[in-house]
């Protein structure tokens, strides 16, 4: 057997885990590891400009590929800078391993230079964390970390590595474990057959059914099974913000996404349904609105890998704990076998009703002869990229417009921070995607507020040649905050106005990229075409959009699913 130092074992473990890229930033406690990185060329390291961005890069990659991302940082400030990124991944169940340097084990507890209790600090925002207590444990700990991060309900795992664990002078036998044994961690591998049967019987008897699909369908790689089941049953399907792309948006059975800024038809259909099949979704407060008024006539079947997601906010009539792909497959088989068929007459009158709702609103917005509307920018981008780009976003109105008006037919293409709502996510996430999918179009649809939260990464893009397209829907304000102030605080715009914005064009150029400003409506299409034609350039497109636009529909606070504002003046 080979003898390796702790640092070399760590890097070898990453190689044996099949890790191609890691994202990170060096510092004292991680220097043995960085030296080991230098002495090999299989694992490639991307040097970011702020550790938060390293985590979002790993996260963007994980969301696009379904594979765990990897981050390497130093102790203390390096580690604490990752926290927002880790919390972002945690809220959206993204698989990720974050390797953190730590002061030497002999110094822990002494307030040593750059010492932070990362195990304690990260505890509430990780799926699990592990610390290395002897160098020889490293291969097993790394194997465990990836296993825990990517199985069951995925999530981030932090590994804390005291500096003496990676010291170059001590060597140990290296073998990468093939299997992990964890007696206390056994995620479900299939759903309960009896429950599945019961659910299928209810589905076939339903008169106004709806399928409500969440991010779990994408994480569980079950889009194919979901699509097949939905088509077989002929039911309407809606999905959450996190579930965008799990069912093709251009399909007739798709009602768009639901919840606070969901479509009129999706929210209406949910409210009036008699059966909800929830798949990998968690009845989050941005979906349900007031829980006590939630869908009064509906019985609920809830499939989720995480038992704690079931009956947490809304009681399920038929809970099914299991991986969504396996459960949907079994459901489909039962539906095919069954002598019962969905009630065609009931379904057709249900569809008639839904189509009326669809026609009533249809995601209309007012256009203007001279002001550029953010919605039309997104619609145009969707058209110009054939709806096939990876789109990352930040948080605010631009995020909602991107999600509403870009039509995703594939999973893993819409990449946003849904659970934590982290401004600053979009650019680094786009970079993580572009690095791993260099031939695909990668758009970051952002706002002038959000982009400034990780703008330093333009420098990383230059170093590694990451030609993403940044679409800055510049409304010169923290638009989503301003919208809430318009609606709830009589338009008192307390600190939601962005004064002294930088010249984004010069800024992009200073970092070695191309900047394009669009402020006239007639320039929009030709300039966007030019931008998209610059395949190998990062282009920062600063688009001056309507400063007063609001996102609609918007659910009325503390109401039920169907209580919505449809424009500044229409309420239903």
């Amino acid at each position: 057997m080979e003898l390796l130092s702790g640092a070399d074992m760590l890097i070898r473990s990453l190689q044996d885990e099949g890790i191609e890229y890691i994202y990170g930033y060096p510092g004292g406690a991680a220097l043995h590891i960085y030296d080991a990185l230098f002495r090999q060329d299989k694992v490639k390291h991307i040097l970011v400009r702020h550790e938060q961005a390293a985590v979002h890069m790993a996260d963007g990659y994980a969301r696009a590929s379904g594979q765990p991302g990897t981050v390497l940082v130093t102790s203390g400030p390096g580690a604490t800078n990752t926290i927002t990124g880790i919390a972002t991944a945690f809220m959206d169940s993204i698989p990720m391993v974050v390797l953190c340097g730590q002061v030497a084990s002999t110094l822990i507890g002494e307030d040593a230079f750059q010492e932070t209790d990362m195990i304690g600090v990260s505890r509430p925002v990780v799926k699990h964390n592990l610390s290395v207590r002897h160098p020889s444990e490293i291969p097993e700990i790394i194997r465990k970390a990836y296993y825990i991060a990517s199985t069951g309900r995925p999530g981030p795992v932090v590994v804390d590595i005291p500096k003496d664990m990676t010291a170059p002078n001590e060597r140990f036998e290296y073998a990468y474990p093939k299997k992990v044994k964890l007696r206390s961690y056994n995620p479900a591998i299939r759903g309960h057959a009896g429950q599945i049967k019961k659910a299928v019987d209810m589905m076939l008897a339903a008169r106004r059914p709806i399928i409500y699909a969440g991010g779990g369908v994408i994480l569980g790689k079950a889009s194919g099974q979901l699509t097949e089941l939905v088509r077989k049953l002929g039911f309407p399907v809606t999905n959450t913000l996190m579930g965008i792309g799990c069912y093709p948006a251009s399909d007739k059975q798709h009602l768009g996404w639901l919840g606070m800024h969901g479509t009129y038809e999706a929210n209406m259909a949910m409210h009036h349904s008699d059966l909800i099949l929830a798949v990998g979704a968690r009845f989050d407060d941005r979906v349900t609105n007031a829980t006590e008024k939630f869908c009064p006539g509906a019985r609920i079947i809830h499939i989720d890998i995480d038992p704690a997601s079931i009956s947490k906010t809304i009681d399920a009539d038929v809970p099914i704990v299991g991986p969504v792909d396996a459960v949907l497959k079994e459901m489909l088989a039962l539906v095919k076998e069954s002598k019962e068929k969905p009630d065609a007459e009931a379904l057709s009158s249900w569809w008639k009703q839904i189509d009326e709702w669809r026609a009533f609103h249809g995601m209309r917005y007012e256009t203007s002869p001279d002001v550029i509307k953010p919605q039309e920018v997104v619609e145009m981008l969707c058209r110009l990229t054939n709806g096939d780009a990876f789109v990352t976003s930040d948080v605010g109105q631009h995020q909602m417009f991107a999600a509403q008006y870009y039509k995703f037919d594939k999973p893993n293409r819409w990449i946003n921070s849904g659970g934590l709502g982290t401004m600053g996510f979009g650019l680094p996430a786009a970079m993580g995607v572009k690095l791993n999918y260099p031939d695909d179009e990668v758009l970051c649809i952002t706002g002038e507020g959000s982009i400034q939260m990780n703008i330093q990464e333009l420098s990383t893009c230059n170093q590694y040649n990451l030609p993403v397209k940044i679409i800055n829907l510049n409304n010169q304000s923290l638009g989503m905050v301003r919208q809430w102030q318009d609606m709830n605080y009589e338009s008192r715009h307390s600190h939601s106005y962005m004064e002294s914005l930088p010249d984004f064009i010069k800024l992009a150029e200073a970092y070695g990229h191309v900047g394009v400003r669009i402020d006239r409506k007639e320039d929009l299409e030709p300039k966007l075409k030019e931008v998209l034609a610059m395949k190998d350039k990062l282009v920062f497109v600063d688009i001056q959009v309507d400063r007063f636009e609001h996102v609609y529909p918007m659910q009325v606070a503390r109401g039920c699913m169907k209580d919505m504002w449809l424009s500044k003046t229409e309420r239903v």
């Binding site: 195990i119 304690g120 505890r123 509430p124 799926k127 699990h128 964390n129 610390s131 825990i148 964890l182 007696r183 206390s184 961690y185 995480d306 038992p307 704690a308 009956s311 947490k312």
Partner: protein, 163 residues
């Protein structure tokens, strides 16, 4: 309703802080908490008493189960069980009080485990109500110091919580 949840936990550094952290992070309350290694030194046994609606209790057990280091758990209050808590209490004991205290300790089946000219130290085990009852019977004015272990519990009969 008050519940007693018994947990088998990997005996590893940091595992206990995850359990405690979960309760504060999710706004669940802890009334008592006891923990010690078991006959299998790789495992700790932890007993927590808490209260909440059925939905909250269901969430507590599910969220605890989700912790990677939690091996198994049971809500003892769902079935017949035995619960015990240990109390050590220091009482002012002078003159006629001494006989009076001795009588009360006997009634509660406690023991006087340490004596000075003015103080008795009493040891008492039982369920939490019994310990409360003893303090009430003695009267708080004579109590100098109380230390309670928190509840430990075990199911009655054949049922065991083990690997």
């Amino acid at each position: 309703m008050r519940r007693i949840i018994s947990v088998l936990l990997e005996n590893e550094p940091g595992a206990l802080s995850r359990v405690v952290g979960l309760f504060s992070q999710r706004n669940y309350n802890i009334e008592t908490l006891t923990v010690a290694p078991t006959e299998d030194e790789t495992l700790s046994r932890l007993t927590v008493t808490t209260s909440g609606s059925d939905r909250v209790i269901e969430q507590i057990t599910k969220q605890l189960n989700k912790l990677v280091e939690v091996v198994k758990l049971v809500d003892l209050t769902e079935g017949p069980h035995i619960e015990r808590e240990l109390m050590l209490v220091k009482l002012k004991a002078t003159g006629s009080q001494r006989a009076e205290i001795k009588r009360t300790v006997d009634i509660f089946r406690g023991q006087i485990v340490d004596v000075t000219s003015s103080v008795y130290t009493v040891q008492l085990a039982g369920d939490s109500d019994k310990l409360d009852g003893f303090i009430q019977a003695i009267g708080t004015s004579g109590v100098l110091e109380v230390v309670r272990s928190g509840v430990s519990g075990i199911a009655r009969g054949e049922k065991v919580l083990s690997l």
